[in-house]
Amino acid sequence: MNLTGEEKANELSKILLEVGTLLMSSGANSSRIRITINRIADAYGYEVDLLITHRALMLTIYDEEQDYFYSRLKRTSPHGANFRMVSGISRMSWRIVEENWTFDQVKQELARLKALPHYPRWVVLVMVSAAGAGFCRVFGGVYIELLVTFVATFIGLFVRQEAIKKSFNPYLAIFFAAFVSSMIAGAALKMQIGENPEYAFATSVLYLIPGIPLINSLSDLLDGNIMNGIVRGVNGLMISFSIALGMISAIVIYGI
């Protein structure tokens, strides 16, 4: 397939934006997105300028020989951590550089990465609940409290997944999950099951903590992407606020 210079720039800009938006919604930080896109553009001999925001990416591709440029804007899909995608795109970007991939090969690889399966739902539920029990243990809980945390996390995460499936507002989904988890752990606290049921109550919502938004926020601020850092930080605060609201509802209901 022989493309003219214009068509090539057009095609490449589409691919680069696809890569950028996939990285953004999978939970990569801004400098990683910029480095990856520049690496791929370099491999094809183009110069690229980028504007990265949380909800959209803008890109201008410049062809020096023909004094010709293309600008394009693409919205990011809803955010959800997917490190298989981040890892896969990073490997792909190196193979583009080393093996001189064609555009079609890149598109095929992107399609393959998008089709990669997630872990089965029950594995996610069990492992995240085990992680919650682990936090409870690290706080100093004993086995009965671990069990309370496990059950509270399991049901809370299930509620969150269902709420997201029914396309509730993501913050509202987190509120529901935090509320259900604290209602379950709060019942144990109310009935004084175990020695220190307050450990179970405090750790039952830890699976909701906005780890990726907050860590990415700080690393963006550190890299000088101040705007993105602030946006991610506020997003993280909103999530913490939703968790606190869910907990406080349970506290008010039980009067603890």
């Binding site: 990073s90 995240v128 992680a131 919650g132 706080f139 699976y207 990726i212 907050l214 860590i215 907990m247």
Partner: protein, 163 residues
């Protein structure tokens, strides 16, 4: 002896915490064992520093730094970016408890309470909020420390020699 058993117990559960989040973030299957080890050793280092009287912020910083450096070494063997290994491993150290206690405090502050309770609550809330922020800053600084020190944008061409 009792203390060491406690650390081994925590080591295990911190690792479980790390892989729980790793699976939530859908990491490639080949990296799960690495993430368990990174999370377990990073978190244990934090608790060792705490036990030595280093404070939560310093503990988190060195714990995250251990994760940051080891993730670069591991990245060569597991063919994954250090970022993918390091983030789930530091998640158990994220100050979630401090963050939502600060949030709960802010909500309580708006209720109708007397002056002395208000002041006491304000003190606790500020303490929790500041700790949450600085622990978080220490974590992300610790994880990106190797990159900042070696001044590279990628670890691909970095030579790692163990032995």
């Amino acid at each position: 002896m009792e203390n060491w058993l406690l650390f081994i117990d925590r080591w295990f559960w911190l690792g479980i915490g790390a892989i729980g989040f790793a699976i939530l973030f859908n990491v490639p299957r080949r990296t799960i064992l690495t993430i368990f080890l990174l999370g377990a050793f990073g978190g244990t280092l934090k608790f060792i520093i705490l036990a030595l009287g280093g404070g939560i912020i310093m503990g988190s910083f060195f714990g995250a730094m251990l994760v940051g450096f080891s993730s670069i070494m591991a990245a060569h063997y597991k063919h994954a970016t250090p970022f993918v290994l390091a983030i789930p491993a530091v998640i158990p150290m994220v100050p979630g408890a401090f963050a939502y206690r600060a949030m709960l405090g802010v909500i309580h502050l708006t209720e109708k309470i007397d002056h002395n309770t208000f002041l006491k609550l304000l003190e606790e809330t500020t303490d929790n909020g500041l700790k949450a922020f600085f622990v978080l800053a220490a974590l992300s600084l610790g994880v990106s420390a190797p990159m900042l020190i070696f001044r590279r944008e990628s670890v691909k061409n970095m030579k790692v020699r163990i032995k």
